[in-house]
Amino acid sequence: MKRHNITGWIYLLPAILFLGAFMVYPLIDVFIYSFEEGYNFTSQTFGGIGFYNYSYILRDPYFLQAIKNTFILVIITVPVSTGLALLISLGLSSIKKLKKFYQTVYFLPYVTNTLAVGLVFMILFKKTAYSDGLINMLIGMFGAEPIDFIDGPYWAKMLVLCIYTVWVVMPFKILVLTSALASVDENYYKAAKVDGTSKLRIFTKITVPMISPIIFYLVVTGFIGAFKAYSDVVALFGTDLNAAEMNTIVGYIYDMLYGNSGGYPSYASAAAIILFIIVLTITVINLMISKKHIYY
């Protein structure tokens, strides 16, 4: 028994070493940094230990803006993208003709570069000296005033960001949900049909419970992914996110480290720890809810 234990540990050793060096140690380090007050990047010295870094960033309007942006993004995009993906997957699994074609179309954003997609969105939404952008042309046809989606009002920018995020994260969800739907035993549907179950009831009482573990997985990973949003925002609004009022928590961390206002690893660490606590809390809440509502 003991020998087996040693062999097991030896197998695990490479992974433990790498994860330890590049994951666990940095994590602990970030935690320590976040309590080191007045850290000097060049001399690598600090003034004292305490909660000053936390109290500083929690009073920093840029950080509060970043938290607000991130939360809005999470709360809107996770349910919308999961819901839309579910509807599209249902559609995909009920058609026969052109099924493969549509599956490819819906999967394309997944294999497309984030920045390239960002460029497409610029063309759609950006107002320049020469054009108002495609979307403005469309809403202009209904007689509305053109809106500057990229440099204009906050809600317009947030709208573009949400649409963009939903569009980017949906393909993977569609892929996963389509295969989840296909794996539901057809006999359940036959049994329901013989019993005269309405389409809506089949969906809510059979389909959704059957694929609920997958939906739950998508929601949890969706939350985590949305909390870590950064590259999408850069693709749309450039790197000066604080000025655009569109920064996210990860963007704030990056700016604190390397941005124009950077060079403050302690503040960045404190922000990272706060993000970690938020994600952990949300995931635990998700798990608790799922215990009640997930079957299996």
């Binding site: 013989v194 179950t197 009831r201 009482k205």
Partner: protein, 365 residues
């Protein structure tokens, strides 16, 4: 409610590379299932029995022909409007609902004037549960039940809406041998108690013969024979039916009729045949052999299997299509007189069937 099938046919179009080969799963079915009877659709796998059941249920639309429930033409009626209850081969119990919720499920679908009050629903659920004796399991999930219990829940779910016709698709195939014996009795009892016309699909001839009022033997989408189990067994219309019913199966020999006598090889096994000379297949039921040291048919003895009540003699004969199996009572004294290598049989004329070599149709003699 009697069920009538008229010229019922189902063709499945070929797909992909086999686009032009359509498969006729059910070919021109005509039969009537009398009210309140238990009918077994019996045949080897791929014979179209499940297709036939699905058409009666309404999950499949027939290519041609009509289905009547009583006098009502239900050919184009949706399954939910036919008033059928169906038990699926894998039971299809909803895994996330407990037993009570599973049985309630069909009742909760009722709309409009059929809608039931909550008390009424629960009352009927309990009734159905009592009928199949699962009252004590109502709060369990299907995964916490044994196969036999799941089976009974599935039957309760099919019965709770009081269907006019109950359909069972291979209901026993997922159960172990002992449970299968108990459950088939149970199905028979439930059917007798409710008096619901029941159609049940199986590939196991013993299952069908033991509980059905009528069996329908099918092969390649064509009905081979319809009748009471014992009638079909005693009087098969063709070689397929003779071979399909009975364990061990009927023994088939290549034989010939010469001058009013039946020959297997050179042995004259039976006389008094009023038929012109011809070549035939001879089917002899395992119980049609008698060990007899003066018997006409000599077989090479392979082994003797003693199963307690009776004995199976496994032997071979060069004119036999397969291994020869003869079943006889273990107190057959003559068994002791066999040599180690050979055994001689005489034949009971009643257990002998003759079939045409080409068409494999039964020949009366």
């Amino acid at each position: 409610m009697k069920v009538v099938l008229k010229n019922l046919t189902k063709k499945f179009p070929g797909a992909g590379r086999n686009k032009n080969d359509s498969v006729i799963a059910v070919n021109n079915f005509n039969f009537e299932i009398p009210d309140g009877k238990l009918v077994g659709l019996l045949g080897p796998s791929g014979c179209g029995k499940s297709t036939a059941l699905n058409m009666i249920c309404g999950l499949l639309k027939p290519t041609e022909g009509k289905i009547f429930f009583g006098d009502e033409d239900v050919t184009n009626t949706e399954p939910e409007d036919r008033g059928v209850g169906m038990v699926f081969q894998n039971y299809a119990l909803y895994p996330h609902l407990n037993v009570r919720q599973n049985i309630l499920f069909p009742l909760q679908n009722f709309k409009g004037k059929d809608k039931l009050s909550k008390e009424e629903m629960l009352k009927r659920t309990d009734e159905a549960a009592r009928l199949v004796q699962i009252e004590s399991l109502m709060d369990r999930k299907p995964s916490e039940l044994s196969g036999g219990q799941q089976q009974r829940v599935a039957i309760a779910r099919a019965l709770v809406k009081r269907p006019k016709v109950l359909l069972l698709d291979e209901p026993l195939s997922n159960l172990d041998a002992r449970l299968r014996l108990q459950t088939r009795e149970k199905i028979r009892n439930i059917q007798t108690a409710t008096g619901i016309t029941t159609i049940f699909v199986t590939h196991d001839q013993e299952e069908a013969m033991s509980i059905c009022d009528v069996i329908v033997v099918m092969n390649h989408g064509i009905i081979q024979q319809i009748g009471k189990p014992q009638e079909v067994y005693d009087n098969p219309l063709n070689l397929f039916v003779a071979k399909f019913l009975g364990t061990p199966p009927v023994n088939v020999f290549k034989g010939k009729i010469r001058n009013g006598s039946l020959y297997i090889g050179e042995a004259n096994v039976l006389g008094g045949i009023s038929m012109p000379d011809r070549d035939v297949y001879i089917g002899i039921r395992p119980e049609g052999f008698l060990a007899d040291k003066d018997g006409p048919l000599e077989c090479s003895l392979e082994r003797i299997q003693i199963m307690g009540r009776d004995v199976t003699v496994v032997a071979s004969h060069k004119e036999a299509v397969d291994t020869v199996r003869a079943v006889m009572a273990s107190d057959n004294d003559l068994l002791g007189e066999k040599s180690d290598k050979y055994i001689r049989f005489s034949i009971k004329p009643k257990k002998v069937y003759l079939f045409d070599r080409k068409s494999e149709e039964r020949l009366k003699f």
